[in-house]
């Protein structure tokens, strides 16, 4: 199954998104949070993100979702540091909507490319009908 890593500055944000995603993908065990610093203060840490990706990978690849700013830079750095040892990509998607869709797709056993594609479609989700 494809794994998912949630990268946020805030430990609470990531844990909250994980809870929300698991409501739609009950029993899915492939989500990891790499959020906040070790002492749970605000921040991002590329090393912990890298370890979370390795931990989330069951051989089918990992989709990463990040919040803003250094969340993105740190996620990219973590992926570079893995040097291709894990099939992994940062999704170009909002982290809340993306995580919910990614968890649903991954939990039904979709392959990496499909999970990533569906996750990135959330970029086009509208909240107001024009």
């Amino acid at each position: 199954m494809v794994g998912i890593v949630l990268v946020s500055h805030s430990w609470k944000i990531a844990e909250g998104i994980k809870d929300l995603a698991l409501e739609m993908a009950q029993g899915f065990e492939g989500i990891r949070c790499a959020a906040g610093l070790e002492d749970k203060t605000i921040g991002t840490d590329p090393i912990r993100i890298m370890e979370a990706i390795q931990d989330a990978d069951s051989g089918d690849g990992v989709v990463v979702l990040a919040d803003l700013g250094s969340g993105v830079i740190s996620a990219e750095m973590a992926i570079d540091m893995l040097e291709g040892s894990v099939k992994v990509q940062l999704a170009d998607a909002p982290i809340v909507e993306g995580a919910v869709i990614a968890a649903v797709e991954a939990s039904i056993g979709s392959p990496f490319e499909k999970v990533l594609e569906e996750t990135e479609k959330t970029r086009e989700f509208h909240k107001v009908q024009s």
Binding site: L37, I42, G43, T44, D45, P46, S70, I73, M77
Partner: protein, 206 residues
Amino acid sequence: MPSRVYECIAKINDTIQANKDFLTDLDREIGDADHGVNMARGFHAVTEKLSQDETDIGAALKKTGMTLLSTVGGASGPLYGTAYMEAGKVMAGKTELTAEDFGQILDVAIAGIQKRGKAERGEKTMLDALIPACETYHAKVAEGADLVTALDAAIEEAHKGIEFTKTIRATKGRASYLGDRSIGHQDPGATSATLTLETVRDFLKA
């Protein structure tokens, strides 16, 4: 007695600690008010994790970069972390720093920061201090200047770079959310980068 490279990095830590509130205040104006706090936490961790006996400049810089990466917390973690790690590659196995080495350090540090932050000059980032400083450094060394003399001239350009960041709008980082409101404030990253160069110069001069 601690090695020279340890002492130099410890001096950078002293500078960062002394300017912690200043850097954070600059970041409060246009960002998330964490630059000084983050850098101070990172460099404090560096002085604890780096062996005082380390004489291999490359190994010391690599260790510094890796530590910043996991302890800074903000974008400066991966940015400065990459800069120090790239500098570490240039200095691997070396125990002396030449003028040429320092030019290469600036080159690879800037390239690393650009790759990681996807930024160019003129976007109100540390690159606005570092790129002109690097250009001047190389020009001075080409004229035959020694490391400290070239670095002196480079730091002057870095200060002009800081002044320049006051005149422009941020297009990278948290400050870019402010749009034109970012104009008038100097960039915290350009400031910490310049403080670092000054500390290295003062250390080499002493």
